[in-house]
């Protein structure tokens, strides 16, 4: 059982990193608690696989340390770290049967054969591989191969964490949810720490209790899927989570409120104070398409806008409107009507987020400190 701690960790593939751009992972401190189901979410090239490989020991970090339960692991090889890793492409030993594949790690550890048999059958039971145990592994479908890769991690008693590196990439969409559910079951049953790397927010939020969102080598936010959605603390989180992502508008603070081009959004006192505290950083206003209100009637605070186009996605619609020179996306439920001629936008003030230099402005008053 392990709590994984990253202490002052940074990594550069270059021999002597000089600029911050040389770093694949920027200095970070992070703790994955024992037994948690975590997702490491981020776009391609943000360093999430590097981070995973550092945890598993396949990559040695250039700075800082990795601790398992408080013990420094930097110089411990992957095979001695008590972790299992599942890769993007299923790794199976072609020449062996499914049974032998599952037994492989145990046999490498010289476990007696009767025990091997017991373990393999137990794991095969959970992964529903029972019926194909005696088949050769190389002719199986991708999802079964991926289950075998997972199974090899599960047969070992000493495994305390399983790391997944985009394990469902090569799986048929209709089988993905099945495997994801299997992962959940395994997590509940074995009380293992699981870290799941993916670039798919849906995958991350269905699998994980907590998501670490990575961007340019940094974990920009660590929280529940809901926190990431409602309270993104970096513009990138707003942009990356949600479909479509958050509307982000550059603003200037004036006496009337937040000015963006010709348009001014009214602010309340609290928001004014918030923005003032940011000083002269570059400011942005963010609001999720789900929270923007679009109607055909104007009210005190509404702003006139022009409709550009509507995408009907079946269960919801995405309406693109122009507010001054800014394009805003609005997500409407299927039953909501898109205004025909005059359209007005409202930004409910509780959903307005303000960013200074891309980071969420927080004060003690709001209580938001995620």
């Amino acid at each position: 059982m392990a709590e994984i701690q990253l202490k002052d960790l940074a990594h550069s593939y270059a021999a002597d990193p000089e600029h911050t751009t040389d770093y694949a992972i920027h200095q970070m401190n992070h703790v994955w608690e024992q037994g948690g189901a975590y997702a490491l979410l981020g776009p391609s090239g943000c360093g999430k696989s590097t981070l995973l490989n550092i945890i598993s020991g396949l990559v040695k970090p250039s700075h800082g340390s990795v601790l398992f339960d408080g013990v420094v692991m930097n110089d411990i090889s992957p095979q001695d770290r008590n972790i299992a890793q599942v890769f993007q492409f299923p790794v199976i030993y072609d020449s062996m049967t499914v049974y032998d594949n599952l037994a492989f790690p145990l046999r490498n550890m010289k476990v007696i054969e009767s025990e091997v048999d017991e373990k393999v059958r137990a794991v095969a039971d959970i992964l529903e591989l029972n019926s194909i145990l005696q088949q050769k592994a190389n002719n199986l479908s991708a999802d079964q191969k991926q289950k075998i890769s997972m199974g090899r991690g599960l047969v070992r008693d000493d495994v305390s964490a399983i790391l997944f590196d985009e394990p469902l990439t090569v799986i048929d969409p209709n089988l993905k949810w099945k495997l994801r559910r299997k992962l959940k079951q395994i997590h509940e049953r074995y009380n293992l720490t699981m870290v799941y790397v993916t670039h798919d927010q849906l995958e991350a939020s269905t699998f994980a209790d907590k998501i670490a969102l990575m961007y340019e080598g940094k974990i920009v936010q660590f929280g529940t899927p809901r926190e990431l959605f409602e309270n993104p603390n970096h513009t990138f989180v707003g942009y990356f989570i949600g479909s479509p992502g958050m509307n982000l508008l550059e603003i200037e603070v004036t006496a009337e409120g937040a000015k963006m081009g010709e348009i001014t959004v009214c602010l309340n006192d609290q928001q004014r104070r918030l923005l003032k505290s940011a000083g002269n950083a570059s400011l942005k206003l963010g609001i999720r398409p789900e929270f923007v209100q679009l109607s055909s009637q104007s009210n005190d605070e509404s702003m006139p806008c022009t409709l550009v186009h509507t995408e009907d996605l079946g269960t919801y619609k995405i309406v693109t409107v122009m507010l001054g020179e800014h394009s805003i996306k609005v997500r409407l439920d299927e039953e909501q009507q898109v205004p025909e001629q005059n359209a007005y936008l409202n930004f409910p003030s509780q959903w307005l987020k303000f960013y200074a230099d891309d980071y969420l402005i927080v004060t003690d008053e709001t209580g938001d400190k995620s």
């Binding site: 490989n53 598993s56 396949l58 090889s77 992957p78 095979q79 972790i83 299992a84 890793q85 890769f87 993007q88 492409f89 790794v91 030993y93 072609d94 020449s95 062996m96 492989f104 790690p105 490498n108 550890m109 088949q135 050769k136 190389n138 002719n139 890769s149 090899r152 991690g153």
Partner: protein
């Protein structure tokens, strides 16, 4: 379903048929033609049926060289395949050293057969050759021109020198095609180096090894130039392989009939062994699944 039958469609096969006829069937048929006749001159040819075949198969000279040939191909394969795999495993995977070793390995493959023969002919000579002289200098008596065992060793060594590179290069490319994830997974599964070799590398090399074995078998089974230049088949007949026996028969003694029969048998052996090898391997594969 109404299928239109038009036999003129057969004409479409004609170009291929003509090509194959000229490249393979017609030349082969002339050999078949000679192998079943006894020809004295243009007007005197007698059909003899399978007589030449019977003669050839009972000829002790040929039986001996056939046996020698199998021993030769067998030992060449037994050395070159494991050695080639070992070399490929030890080669650096990236950087300047990788390119350098690739070039060094490719050099023997670029040298023409008779030059290889000449190189070794001189290199291994007991009087002036570096290798021969050095071995004798160490107190081991060695002379490939007079001692049959020495001649054998030299011929095999020459082939190993010439062709191990081919296996090594094939395996090298096969090894490079294994994704890193396999090694990483094996590491995490605590596999030993031997287990990695046995369960990851070797299975992944199977494809290239089948090709390598087939190529080396066919090539070594038909070898002519190198031993001919090196030992001329001697001492005695100790390094006279099939193709040399055949050449002596066809061109030296002008026994066209038996030589043609022999050619056919030779051809069929190569075909049969290759086919047996290939089908056995693919059959093994199917049975296991």
């Amino acid at each position: 379903m109404n299928k239109i039958q038009n036999n003129r469609a057969w004409f479409l096969v004609l170009p291929v048929f003509i090509l194959v006829a000229f490249s393979a069937i017609i030349p082969l048929m002339t050999v078949v033609n000679y192998s079943v006749q006894d020809i004295f001159d243009q007007n005197n040819a007698y059909f003899v049926g399978v007589e030449w075949y019977r003669d050839v198969l009972q000829d002790p000279r040929l039986q001996d060289s056939l046996l020698r040939q199998f021993m030769y191909s067998g030992s060449v394969l037994a050395i070159e395949i494991p050695l080639g795999i070992a070399v490929a495993l030890m080669m650096p995977t990236r950087g300047a050293m990788a390119s350098l070793s690739l070039i060094l390995l490719a050099i023997p493959l670029l040298i023409p057969w008779n030059v290889v023969g000449t190189i070794w002919q001189i290199f291994a000579r007991a009087d002036i050759g570096l290798l021969g002289y050095a071995i004798n200098g160490m107190g081991i008596e060695y002379n490939y021109a007079t001692n049959a065992t020495d001649a054998w060793l030299t011929v095999v060594l020459m082939d190993v020198w010439h062709w191990t590179s081919l296996i090594a290069l094939l395996c090298y490319s096969g090894l490079r095609a294994i994704p890193d994830a396999y090694y990483q997974a094996a590491k995490i599964d605590r596999a030993s180096d031997w287990a990695i070799f046995k369960y990851i590398q070797l299975p992944k090399l199977k494809g290239v090894l089948i090709i390598g074995v087939l190529l080396r078998f066919m090539d070594s089974f038909m070898i002519y130039t190198e031993p001919f230049v090196l030992t001329g088949g001697g001492p005695g007949n100790s390094t006279t392989f099939l193709s040399q026996t055949l050449t002596k028969m066809a061109i030296g003694q002008f026994d066209i009939g038996p030589a043609a029969a022999f050619s056919m048998i030779y051809f069929l052996i190569v075909l049969l062994v290759s086919w047996l090898f290939f089908t056995t391997i693919s059959q093994l594969d199917k049975n296991k699944t």
